[in-house]
Each structure stands twice: as C-alpha cells, then as structure tokens.
C-alpha cells in the first residue's frame, strides 16, 4: 500500500549496510585513539601497568633487600636510580611500589563501584523506601571526616594498605551512588522503558538492557578520577608514616625521602614523579573518554579563509555592489513600500567535510503592512529558518549563502552579506520587529514575574518610565483578553496556563508597537480550544494595529483562519505562493496538493488517505 513512499524515503542510506552497536562502540574507541591526550594517557598507564606487572623480572633487587654498605648512593650501573637511607635500590622499590599502589587504587575503585553502582541503580529505578534509606546512609557517609575514619581504622586493624583502601572505597562509594541514581532517574520514565514494561520484561532485564547502558560511560569516567584520588589519599596516609613500612609503596618511599630531604633530595623526586605521572594520566584519560563519548562530530571552522576571500573581494567596492543591487531591486516596481522583502535568500550550515548544507534555498517573498503572510511547510522545510533570518536569530554557525532581506526600504541582509547584520537588526528587533514563539512556557523566564518581563523591555526600548510602562503593561494584558491583569502581572510564569502564557507573550510582542510580528507556530503547543481563542486574539490585534504578520505554521486550518497570502515551502525551497483562497482551493504544485490531500477534514472515515490521494493525482 505504501511501498513506493517507503522506498523513496529510505533511499539515502543504501550504501551504508548495517551499522551495529559494536561498530558504534568502536567509533568511541577510535575517537579516543584519535585524541593525542588520550593516546598519551593510555601509553603512560599501560607502561606503568606493564612495569608493575613484570616487577619481579624487571627489578634487579628485592623490594626490601638492603645493602648497608651502600646507603644514599648516587645512580651507578648497579643501582640505576641510586639507593635510599637503608641502602635499598630505588628503581626496584619504584617498580614494586607501582604494583602495590595501582592494585590498591583498583581495589578502592572496585569497592566503591561494587557498593555505589548497584545501590544507585536500585534507588534510581525503584525510588521509594530503598532510595530514602540509602540517601540517609549516603548523607552519613559523606558527612564523615574521611581522614579521621581512615586513621581510626588504621589504629584498629593495623597498617594494612588493603584494609585502608577498602575503607576508603566504602567512604567514596556515594560518588558512584549519586552519579548512577541521577542517570537512572533521567531515563526511568523514558517511553522505551515503559515499552519494555509493557512487553513484560523483568525489572532485572530492564535494568541490564535499557538502563545500565546509560550509566556505563559516566561510571568509567568517574573511575579514572577516583583511582587518581585513591592513589593520592593512600600515599598521603603513608607519607604521614601510617603505612606498612615492610611494603614498598610510593607513599612509603615519599615518607622515607622526606626524612632525608637535606641529605638527598632526589629521593623525594622519583616517587612524586611516578605519582604525578599516574594521576595525571588518569585525569587525562577520563577527559579523553568523556570527549570521545560526547558527540565528536564538531564542525571544524575551516571556511574562515573562504570568508576572508569573500570579504576581501567585496571590500574594495562595497558601494558599487550595494548600488547595483539596489538598482536591481528597484526595478521590481517600488519595493520600498514592502514592509519586508526577501529576495533569493539562501541559508546554509557548514558541514564537517567543508561543504555547506543549504536549509533555505533561493526563497523570495514579501509582506506588506497590514497583511498576514503564512509560511507553510513540514518539518525540515526551512520555514522557521527563513523566519529566523528575518529576525536575525540564526545560530552562530549559520551562513547566509545568497540573497538579501530588506525591511521597510533598508537592507538587514544586503546582497553579498554572509551573516545577518546584527547592528542594524538589534535596533529593529523588539521594537519594530517582534516575535511570538512556539513554546510559550519556555520563553518566559521562571525566575521573574510576568510584569517584570513585560515592563523591562518597554523601559529599555521605548525609554519610558517604569510607572508608565507598568500602566501600559496592565492595559496590554487586558487587551489580550486576560480577565484579571493585575493578578497576572504579579504572577510567575509557572502560575499561569499555557494559553495564558501565550497571551502574555503576545502582549509582549505588541508592547513596543511593532510594524512586523513574526509568529512561529504560535498555537502548535496549545489545546485546540485555546488555539481558537489565540487565533481570534491575533486576528483582532492585527486588524486594530494594522501590523504585518508572518505566520509560520504547518496547519492549513490556521492558515485559512488568519492568512491573506500563503507561501508553501518544501526542503528549503519555495514551491508555491499566492492568495490564500487560490492556494487552498486550487493548488498548482503537486506538493501542495499532497499536503492538502493529507488533511483529514472532509475525508470519508476509515478510508486510505495516501492511496486515494495518489490515485486522484494520477
């Protein structure tokens, strides 16, 4: 029934056969290996781990073998790094110390993960009583002074590295618990988890399959950091003389070196160097993993030279191009009287491979005073990008790749410009061009009252006093149909409904008496009954104020309700333009016909829409 549609919609990716989960994971690894810092960190850690693992073979002496005759010796062919105050070989002790230090750091991280991860998973997933209790335990653990607990444990159990690291692992497990719980909470109510529940998956399978993948990455990163902290803490304890003197560790060596700091300062250097190297490498590795996990496809700003070339060529003769283009514009009978005129506009985004992806391509239309122009299209049609280029609110990465925009006889984007001229637009925006957004709630700052958010722009833009602006705001609120303006004025955004918030934003949009209002899907987020009220409001205000309106929408019903003229867009291109009745009743373009054919209004229920539509078209 829909085969033709499907295959055509899926053609972009025939050349890329199965991309499996393992492939994706390996790209993370690949990105990690592409990062020089990541490689350095991995090489250092691997090197230290190998040295520690083969300490028995590589070390020329036992860790505690003491040559009393040769204390505090300088490096020579036998003791390549010299000896300490007891005549023990420093190189050998460094190697054995690496083994003990790394293993104990692993133990600490392991204990912390073993406690924190499952507890966090359970608390995050089930919430309820277990979460409450574990939160208490975590709070207690976190309020304990770590060093004092470790000293107490040392006093009770003796100077064992392992015992103190297990204790430290327990103390530091809240870090994992909190991390895991937060990550799990963020996905607990995702719809795919609900779908798994409906499928009857057991909780354990849900956690293993759907939830664990979310916490995996942060736990790995955290472990790198925790291992570094464990090494530092353990060495700190031993430095204070609380370690096991019969075992060689970096901390014990540090303590020993400190005692002889005046006789032989190098003794301090080697263990400190080993520690800094290891901890530094762990931190770098953590950062590199995080960078690799985060979306690596950052756009390289490689087009800079091209930009410079463009400005360089247009630099010497800007007046000429400007003048000639203006002459071209003037040919189309009297474009100065158009409120907005968009000519052959192109907007694009530079891609990682250096090409530019066009999202708006060769679009031209105009809006007159007192007129409502609808821009209709589906997602990805470029309708919002077009509206944003008129507003000058395109993201920084966007480039105007062609064409011009003029507002009330002046260019805001002159021919040849590659970005919107913010100097020119910031004088217009908010004052002569205003904006009604799609999501009313996310466009009001929850930290300020509605009144404050209405008054401040008026004081700034119109230069009136605060009292006068307050009076105006009250009047505006009652103009947009709010029954108790003073109550709404004092309210915070979360205290009003979505429809009310949209009315407030409309009041804000007309507060500075604009010539043009750009409304981007102003009713899409609202209930149908509220939508009808808001449409009534926009129509009344537009008639009363005589402003021009650009209405961006996907809904032909909204278009029919408000618009005088319509522009239909598809994939960044303008496919059709005309008076509303003509477009809606006799659409010339097949795409417009398809869109209108997809409307449910007036269709026989329970019949196929697409099949019937294509038959009619053929």
């Amino acid at each position: 029934m829909t085969e033709s549609v499907n295959t055509s919609a899926l053609t972009p990716a025939p050349g890329t056969p199965g991309q499996s989960g393992t492939v994706v994971r390996s790209t993370v690894l690949k990105r990690l290996f592409k990062n020089p810092l990541g490689i350095v960190a991995i090489v250092i850690l691997l090197g230290i781990a190998l040295l520690a693992a083969f300490a028995d073979v590589l070390a020329p002496f036992e860790e505690n073998y003491a040559n009393i005759a040769k204390t505090l010796a300088s490096p020579d062919s036998v003791n390549i790094l010299g000896t300490d105050s007891a005549g023990r070989d420093i190189w050998s002790r460094l190697l054995f110390g690496a083994r003990l230090t790394l293993l104990s750091a692993l133990l600490c991280a392991g204990v912390a993960v073993a406690i924190g991860l499952p507890a966090g998973l359970i608390a995050g997933y089930y919430a309820g009583r277990f979460e409450a209790v574990s939160n208490w335990v975590v709070s207690i653990l976190m309020s304990l002074p770590g060093l004092i607990v470790l000293l107490t444990i040392r006093a009770a159990f003796g100077p064992s590295v392992w015992v103190s690291m297990i204790a430290f692992g327990v103390l530091i497990s809240p870090a994992y618990f909190r991390l895991t719980r937060t990550a799990v909470q963020s996905v607990r109510n995702e719809l795919y988890v609900d779908a798994a529940r409906v499928s009857g998956l057991s909780d354990r399978s849900i956690i293993v399959r759907h939830i664990f993948s979310v916490v995996r990455a942060p736990v790995i990163i955290q472990t790198a950091a925790i291992a570094g902290v464990a090494i530092a803490i353990q060495s700190g304890l031993e430095f204070l003389g609380l370690g096991d003197p019969s075992k060689a560790t970096w901390g014990v060596m540090l303590s020993e070196g400190f005692k002889n700091v005046y006789l032989k300062p190098e003794l301090l250097f080697w263990p400190s160097f080993a520690m800094s190297l290891t901890i530094g490498a762990l931190v770098l590795l953590g950062n590199a993993i995080r960078d690799a996990m985060e979306d690596g496809e950052k756009i390289k700003h490689r087009k800079k030279p091209a930009d410079k070339a463009a400005t360089a060529t247009s630099g010497p003769s800007p007046t000429v191009t400007r003048a000639s283009r203006k002459a071209v514009a003037a040919v189309e009978s009297g474009t100065e009287h158009h409120l907005v005129k968009v000519t052959n506009l192109g907007v694009g985004y530079p891609q990682a491979d250096g090409s530019i992806k066009k999202v708006v391509d060769d679009v031209s239309f105009h809006v007159d005073r007192g007129e409502i122009l609808g821009i209709v299209g589906e997602s990805g049609s470029g309708k919002s990008q077009t509206a944003f280029s008129i507003l000058g609110l395109l993201p920084d990465t966007a480039r105007i790749v062609g064409g011009a925009i003029q507002f009330d006889g002046d260019y805001t984007v002159a021919p040849g410009d590659d970005t919107v001229n913010q100097d020119r637009l910031s004088k217009l925006r908010g004052k002569r061009i205003s904006y009604i957004p799609q999501e009313p709630m996310s466009n009001l700052d929850p930290a300020f009252t509605i009144g404050y958010q209405l008054v401040t722009p008026m004081v700034r833009v119109l230069g009136i006093s605060k009292a006068e602006a307050t009076n105006r705001a009250m009047k505006l609120l009652s103009d947009v149909g709010i029954t108790y303006p003073d109550r709404t004025f004092k309210a915070y955004p979360h205290e009003v409904s979505g429809g009310m918030a949209q009315r407030v934003l409309i009041a804000g949009a007309i507060s500075c008496e604009p010539d043009l209002i750009i409304a981007d899907e102003p009713t899409t987020a609202l209930d149908v009954t509220v939508q009808a009220d808001v449409l009534d409001l926009i129509r009344d205000l537009q008639k009363r104020l005589g402003v021009g309106v650009i209405l961006v929408t996907h809904n032909f019903g909204v278009v029919a309700d408000l618009c005088d003229r319509v522009v239909v867009m598809q994939n960044g291109r303008l496919v059709e333009e005309g008076p509303v009745r003509e477009i809606l009743r006799n659409p010339a373009d097949p795409y417009t016909q398809k869109l209108l054919g997809s409307m449910l209004e007036g269709k026989e229920p329970m019949t196929m829409l697409v099949a019937a539509g294509t038959e009619a078209a053929q």
């Binding site: 549609v5 499928s199 009857g200 589906e378 009743r585 229920p605 829409l609």
Partner: protein, 302 residues
C-alpha cells in the same frame, strides 16, 4: 456522568459474556502527592469504556484531561485506585509483572514520541526482537518474525542493523508499530501515535493503522487530541474532560453532532482549511460560546 453507556458492562470475571475484548468499569486513578498526608491527585474519575474485537475506540480530549492516563492504566503503567479493568474476561487491574508478561502477547502499545520510545543504544532488530525473546521465542524464530514485521510496516529489511537515530520520525513510528505487532496482539493502546508527525507522514501512518486492522482484526484504543484524527480512525469515540468521560458513542454522532457542550466547543475550535468555511465556523463558534455562557450563567457550569 457519561451520557452513553454500553449495555451489560458488568462482566463476570472468568467469563466473556458481553463479547467485549476490554472493559473498564468505574475506574478511578489517583496519584499520591509529595506532601505528607495531602489529598492524592485524582487523575481519572468513574471511567466506563469497552472495546470489542476488531473495533477502534477513539479517546479525545485536551491536555490534562486524563486520556493518556487511561491508556496507561490499561497497560498497567498507572495505579488503579478503584474499579476494574477486564481484558478477555480476566481482571487485570492489579496484574503482576508475571501476568503482564503473559498479557503482553495480547495487549501492546504505541507511544506518542517516536524519538524517546525506542532505546537509542539498541539496533532496530534488537528492539523488535525484545518482546519475542521475553515470550521465549528462539533467536532464529525471532529473526524471521522481525523480517516479517519490517515488511508489514513497509521498512526495508536492512533496517535490522541500524540504530533509531538513522530514521526519520515517521519511520521510527513504524518501528514502534512493528514492535507492538510483534506478538500479534488483540489490542493496541495507541497514545497520540501521530501527533509528533508531519501532515503527510501522519496520513501514511494512519493508513498503516487501518491496513493492519483490516489484515489482523486488531482492536485499538486510540488516544488523540485531534478530533479529525479520531473521527477518521475510530468506530466509536469517547470524549474526556477533566478526568471524566463526558460523551461516548459512535464516531459519526460524537464527532459531527455532539451533545455535550465541551465536545461542541472542541468540534468548532478546530479550523478547516478553507477561508470562507472557516469564517463561518468561527462565527458558529462565537455564537456557541455566547449561548453556552448564557446557559452556564443560568445553571451549573458544565
């Protein structure tokens, strides 16, 4: 409060006297509030609906009306405080996870947002095989069924090894529909399955729903805020308002000549794609609102 009641909804557990696949009787759903000893929030009040085999019940209402909660209650994702939900003669109001696993063969779901209803870390093949493996199907069997499903919803078979993010919204929704179809269920709860889609994609997906119903005889509980969508796909329609069902009946009657004031407002609020007809509808709406205001002033507000 309902103006239309299906006769004989008092099903005896274990029997299937009235021929209903699903019946919901006097359902109340309450959510506990955060504050200690505060009154729980009542999301649904006294809900009575029923669905026969091969039938679509459209559930329409505005945001916060409880239509999604009703769907979730049927799926066991919302707490049932009072009343019963009966599916194939069995009371499933408080079904355990084990019962749910057996139930999932017959009762499935398609969610609104195709972007969050598929696990971004799993391949399409794994997503579709999940319900099959829960039911103890062997991997080869599951693989064969996955291919069938992709074919059924019009996706190419190489989609198996791709990730959700490689697909558009409409294609993802097909994957979600395929997942729901995996076990050949008898009832699919569709929670706003087309509201996140573009107009032309919506038409294609609605066609798919109709085609699947014709081919498999599945029933739908179709939740939507859009009266046009509900009219197009439903045999019967229930209108929800503030946690209650205010009107229920055949799609033709409820969506064209509604009796309840709220449904009347809803009908006239949705704009039609013709300026002149829309102008008339707008006038009708204003007259209706005026008349209702006068009526409301005279009696208890609806």
């Amino acid at each position: 409060m309902s103006t239309f009641q299906n006769s004989g909804t008092l099903a005896t557990p274990g029997q299937n006297l009235d021929g209903n696949l699903l019946s919901v009787d006097s359902l109340v759903v309450e959510y506990p509030t955060k504050h200690f000893r505060a009154k729980p929030f009542r999301a649904l009040t006294d809900i009575n609906i029923s669905i026969k085999a091969g039938e679509t019940l459209g559930l329409v209402g505005e945001s916060g009306s409880g239509k999604t909660t009703l769907g979730r209650a049927v799926l066991g994702l919302a707490p049932v405080t009072q009343g019963t939900i009966t599916f194939e003669g069995k009371d499933i109001s408080h079904a355990s996870r084990k019962d749910r696993r057996a139930l999932s063969r017959d009762l499935q779901v398609v969610f609104q947002d195709p972007y969050t209803s598929l696990n971004p870390a799993l391949e399409i093949g794994d997503i579709l095989a999940e319900p099959l493996s829960v039911q103890g199907k062997s991997p080869t069997e599951a693989k064969r069924r996955v291919r069938e499903l992709l074919d059924q919803v019009g996706l190419p078979s190489d989609a198996i090894h791709r990730l959700p993010r490689e697909f558009s919204g409409g294609q993802r929704q097909r994957v979600a529909i395929a997942r729901a179809l995996a076990l050949s269920p008898k009832l699919i709860v569709c929670d706003e399955p087309v509201s996140a889609l573009d107009l032309s994609t919506q038409a294609v997906v609605l066609d798919l729903f109709l085609q699947i119903q014709r081919d498999t005889g599945v029933s739908y509980l179709f939740v939507s805020h859009d009266l046009d969508v509900v009219r197009h796909i439903s045999h019967r329609v229930a209108v929800m308002y503030r946690g209650e069902i205010v009107e229920q009946g055949t799609a033709e009657v409820v969506t064209r000549t509604p009796e309840h004031p709220y449904t009347q407002r809803l009908l006239l609020a949705s704009p039609v794609p013709d300026p002149d007809r829309q102008e008339k509808r707008r006038k009708d709406r204003h007259e209706l609102l005026k008349a209702q205001r006068i009526e409301a002033a005279a009696s208890v507000p609806a």
